[in-house]
């Protein structure tokens, strides 16, 4: 079955601490994976995609095909990182995404 799993509903860290939001996937083909973020009172938006291999707002994510994971990491959390984060997989040959259940990140002062 095609699935994206985010095991943590809520993750609380202190400002300046490292952050890792976990994402695991189950997919038979070659996956395209994304992280989307929703800040308070804002619309859901793309944070980063694995094929770009870029760092956005200090966040990085590496696709690990062996572990079927795409964890989102940031070495030093900021208060403005507090948001809802969704891991998503794009079904091959379509424009349809499978979203995880989301992780709410709270960065405490």
């Amino acid at each position: 079955a095609q699935r994206v799993t985010q095991p943590e509903k809520l993750l609380s860290v202190f400002k300046g601490a490292p952050v890792e939001l976990k994402c695991n996937y189950s997919y038979s083909g070659s996956p395209e994976l994304f992280w989307y973020v929703q800040y308070s009172r804002q619309r859901l938006q793309l944070l980063l995609r694995h094929i770009s291999r870029e760092s956005i707002k200090g966040f990085t994510a590496d696709l690990n095909k062996g572990e079927t994971s795409f964890h989102l990491k940031k070495p030093f959390a900021q208060e403005e990182d507090s948001a809802m984060y969704y891991c998503a997989l794009l079904r091959s040959g379509t424009y349809k995404y499978i979203f995880g259940t989301g992780t709410r990140l709270k960065v405490l002062a």
């Binding site: 509903k9 793309l46 995609r49 349809k96 995404y97 979203f99 989301g102």
Partner: protein, 110 residues
């Protein structure tokens, strides 16, 4: 910037009413989507349209229908609203590299 605009931010409807949620995009994208966003359940795809008058069921289509008469407009219809359809509804469009979302419509069915 891509603009995906949903007609209402908040709606309150009565059980049994027919409800229309409207979405308009200005980027000439062929693909448009309707999702439900519920706490602990994430985003679940209701319906998908890949062209005018073309539609495809998503993962939770029961109780919903859609209409795509023009490329820029994608409507979600609740034929007979029920309390379990109280939710946040998100419209989206996509290129082959990114999905763009509307601001959401919070629907409450009483």
């Amino acid at each position: 910037d891509v603009k995906v605009t949903q007609s209402s931010r908040y709606l309150v409807k009565r059980t049994g009413e027919k409800v229309f949620l409207e979405c308009v995009q200005d980027m000439d994208h062929e693909n448009m989507f309707w999702y439900r966003q519920d706490p602990g359940l994430g985003l679940r795809l209701i319906y998908f349209s890949y062209d005018v008058k073309m539609k495809e069921k998503g993962d939770i289509p029961e109780g919903y229908s859609v209409s795509r008469e023009k490329k820029e407009r994608f409507s979600l219809i609740l034929e007979s609203a029920s309390t379990n359809q109280t939710s946040m509804y998100l419209c989206a469009t996509s290129s082959n590299t990114e999905a763009f979302f509307g601001q959401g419509t919070r629907l409450t069915v009483v």
